[in-house]
Amino acid sequence: MAIEVRIPTILRTYTDGAKQVEGDGSTLGELLIDLDRKHGGLRERLVDDGGLRRFVNVYLNDEDVRFLAGLDTPVKDGDTVTVLPAVAGGGI
């Protein structure tokens, strides 16, 4: 088991085109460091000065990690992390 991470199209240059990758760690921050070992440069696109970049949204099992504990959010085997760029809502 590991933590599944879904990667948006625009960041797949860092994952050899893979839509999802797997990593380990006890927090989101550790998971991103682990991912960066296999997919160099990915972490820098998501994080700056220790926090998530403004236009990057990361969800743990569909919940926005900014409302959990950000990079300190605990993660565990079997979780799904989804990375998405912030886009304009439908403005239905």
Binding site: F55, G89, G90
Partner: protein, 315 residues
Amino acid sequence: MRYENLLDSLGHTPLVGLPRLSPSDDVRLWAKLEDRNPTGSVKDRAAFFMVAQAEKEGLLSPGATIIEPTSGNTGISLAMVAKLRGYRLIVVMPENTSEERRQLLRMYGAEIIGSPAAGGSNEAVRVAKRIAAEHPDWVMLYQYGNEANARAHYETTGPEILTDLPEITHFVAGLGTTGTLMGAGRYLREHKPGVKIVAAEPRYGELVYGLRNVDEGFVPELYDPSVLTTRFSVSSADALRRTRELIAAEGIFAGISAGAALHAGLAMAAKAVNDEEPADIVVLIADGGWKYLSTGAYDGTLDEAEARLEGQLWA
């Protein structure tokens, strides 16, 4: 109920219980039926307030042109208000939006400028800003940054809900311009300490996220995360499944974003049951299902519907 004209009938929408979807007598779900507005969506509130504010500020004189980026409902609402108030309306709309919306807009007399499907509403915003800059005499109300959008919900949606359900514990709505959640959320927080404000954000197919890089993202100027308790990303599959459950269990024929809000509402309900805490959860139904029939969302199996919805903007 009698009104002098259509605009006066805005708001005061029903709040109906969802007894079959509610997990228990102590954890209850309620639906705020915003399809019961003049043009059939929650956006009538924002459209009316934004136009009224622009009139108050002297920005709109008779015959003025309004331009607005919208994936549909705001455009339809603005088209109705513009028609009744004597303005010309141009909407900038992504090409991956439903045909019903286009027909309605044309019928109301609005002009439509298409923006590329890739990039979704981001592109519509960009195109509208560019065109507005070329036509300084046109008025862009700009729903993503117009305080009157959020104020519409602070002054109407929020108070209506609290009057109808003083015991409210959660308010759940779709996150687009963020106007509904910011306005109603602020009102409820100020008047009901401890209330939880929950956002359900649509997660689209990959086409919609076709940005060139992550620095080109978009966060609406109205968005203030401190108003929210939490925020869920809801997939098309989950939103569709819940939209169908609304019909099957409660007889409510709603648009797909309502299914997304219900999905988040049910997650909060499950948590309340787990924590053995009573809850009264209001889920905002932004519109009815009529404008989405051509997307195939209501036809065939869920998998078929999901495949057809890929790449379309459903909220």
